[in-house]
């Protein structure tokens, strides 16, 4: 396939279009129009990015697992566990230097996310549990345990703040939106590219896809199918954990029970919407984040007397229209959801 798949092209054009409009609004008389400001103001773009980051990471997590043939509906739970772990780590290292403590907490989030991934792998590979059930177990378990263990008196002192990138952050409009962000945001955007290259252009990616599409053939080629699947679910868990870390250590600065609030499920939707490709997922997450931003812009600007519930339906309705109209049929990896037995082995 060419470097830019169809979904990737759509996604990237969407992002470029939004930035172009924002530049026009900021730098030309177009900005005097109230509606143009609502639709393409810098505040809307910033909000879009913030809302999209955890969704992108969640979707990447799903892509890694599912490309290797393991369904991951447990993203929500892995995210929550990662968020909680990051919070515990942060609140118990408050007396460390701020950045050290934050970075340490991110690592803990990654670790716990990875462990959740491992658990998902164990249940669905070693114990042959149906992968949808396994994912559900992870969601419920994470929700229950994090709420039960959450010490509500604990305080996480400080969170990641924006790091402007020299020169680039000076560019009007694009600078403040793209190049003046906290570290996990940069990392997440970078990871989209990394995962894209890893899946489509490396030996590891080739093997992952082989295991997800034709495990039997991969096995004959000497690839250890289940090892690849373990590896991918763990990596996927880590990415979901990073999404949790983003929520606690970068977006909010505090944990609270159920704080993922369905983002794992929306990530799942973004993954399918993006046809199991990283750039597709980025596009889907951006679209979703943008409609959320619009909804907020409408409410802030007070430009409409439509009851706010209908304004709030925007992200969800747009997603439904988009999946039915734009995307059409998507295709999951062929061997998804099926446990794999080596010949004759247990």
């Amino acid at each position: 396939m060419s470097f830019w798949s169809r979904t990737a092209r759509v996604a990237v054009s969407l992002v470029v279009l939004m930035l172009l409009m924002a530049i026009l609004v900021e730098l030309t008389p177009l900005g005097e129009n109230k509606w143009m400001r609502v639709f393409f103001g810098v505040s809307a773009l910033n909000f879009t990015l913030r809302a999209a980051i955890p969704l992108v990471l969640g979707a990447l997590s799903g892509i890694l697992c599912e490309r290797s043939g393991i369904i991951n509906i447990g993203i929500e739970g892995m995210m929550l566990a990662g968020a909680f772990a990051g919070f515990v780590a942060k609140s118990s290292t408050n007396d460390w230097p701020l950045y050290l403590s934050l970075v340490f907490s991110v690592i803990v989030s990654l670790g716990v996310g990875g462990l959740m991934g491992l658990l998902h792998g164990m249940l669905s590979i070693r114990f042959r549990m149906d992968q949808i059930i396994s994912g559900s177990v992870i969601i419920i378990l994470a929700a229950g345990l994090t709420s039960y263990l959450f010490d509500r008196d604990a305080i996480a002192d400080g969170k990641f703040t924006p790091i402007p990138i020299p020169l680039l952050s000076e560019i009007p409009v694009i600078g403040p939106v793209l190049f003046n962000n906290p570290p996990i945001t940069y990392l997440a955007l970078l990871l989209v590219l990394v995962v894209h290259i890893a899946i489509f252009y490396t030996r590891w990616g080739l093997r992952t896809r082989a295991v997800g599409e034709h495990p039997r053939a991969a096995d004959t080629e000497g690839i250890n199918v289940n090892l690849m699947r373990y590896l991918n679910t763990m990596l996927g868990g880590m990415l979901a954990g990073l999404a949790g870390a983003y929520l606690v250590l970068e977006a909010v600065g505090q944990f609270q029970e159920g704080m993922t609030a369905g983002r794992g499920f929306i990530s799942l939707a973004a993954m399918i919407f993006g046809n199991w490709t990283p750039f597709g997922a980025l596009g889907a997450a951006t679209l979703f984040g943008y409609t959320q931003a619009l909804q907020n812009e409408f409410l802030l600007a007070g430009v409409t007397t439509i009851p706010r519930q209908f304004v709030s339906m925007l992200p969800y309705v747009v997603t439904i229209i988009a999946v039915s109209g734009l995307v059409g049929r998507v295709r999951a990896p062929a061997a998804i959801g099926r446990p794999y037995d080596t010949e004759g082995g247990r």
């Binding site: 996480a156 002192d157 909010v252």
Partner: protein
Amino acid sequence: MNPQKSWSSLIWLVSTFCLLAFTSLSAATLKVGLVTDVGRVNDRSFNQSAWEGVQEAKKQLGLNDRHVKYIETQDAKDYADNLAQFIDAEYNVIVTVGFALGDATVKAAKENPDTLFIGVDQFQGEAIPNLAGLIFHEDQSGFLAGVLAAGMSKSGTIAAVLGTDLIPPVVAFNEGYISGAKSVNPKIKVLSTYHPGELSQAFVDPEWGAATAKQAIDQGADVIFGAGGLTGNGALQEVATQSGVYCIGVDSDQWNTVPAARPCLISSAMKLITPAVADLISKAQSGSFKGGNVFGAAGLAPFHDFENDIPKPLKDLLVATKAGLDSGIIKTGYGN
């Protein structure tokens, strides 16, 4: 299941005996129970304030630890059942927290005239002798916050990030805030927005609070009022990481409840649930408990580190406004 069952019932029997022994020993003291709205007793928000009020009363009156309990509601359909747990155990005072428990509390109070009920944030349409509805003039508190915000704003744009318009106290805060700000600067732009989701999400979405606060800052707001449980707290914490922007908290003095907000927190629009609950429980003990609506204190919290940043004329204006609100000369424009 079977061995489990007999084992459990044995323990049940033994413990019932123990319980009986205890109750007969201390039958005279007050038993206080609290039912939360869907939420926790340590939610850094109104449930916590109410529970702290109960704790304070426990200390003041020397109540037995065993007789002061709470149940955290998991599902809005369970309000009545959770109240019944306390009524069955013959608790004398039951505190129910939050607007949403209003109906269930009124019903229980009518059915159990010997039990005293305290309904936090529950306006009483008709007075029931054994039910005190603890309410606050949130609009006045919000009005003062609006005066402060407008007085401190240099950009002429201020914002409010709010829990939900499904709950009247939050609307009262906002309406008061807007008219307070306009009373200082009629041309001020107030960006105020309620959480777009359902009730179950509205107060527990700090991520939305933070992103919305940032959005308002991007649009030029330089004072942000965060009012809505954890959602509002998220807004405060976001503002704290931005330079040149002030924030105002809500409910209690958030200098203490959200330390992370200290870099921007110039004050909080308070409704003091804790002392009011403690006071009502004391009244229950002393026999001077009266039903109907009881107003708790509302007003601005201290300025703390920003004492010197707030100009003297503004402070004077706040004092005068407070007096005007108390005497009824100044109207907030909310209600009536």
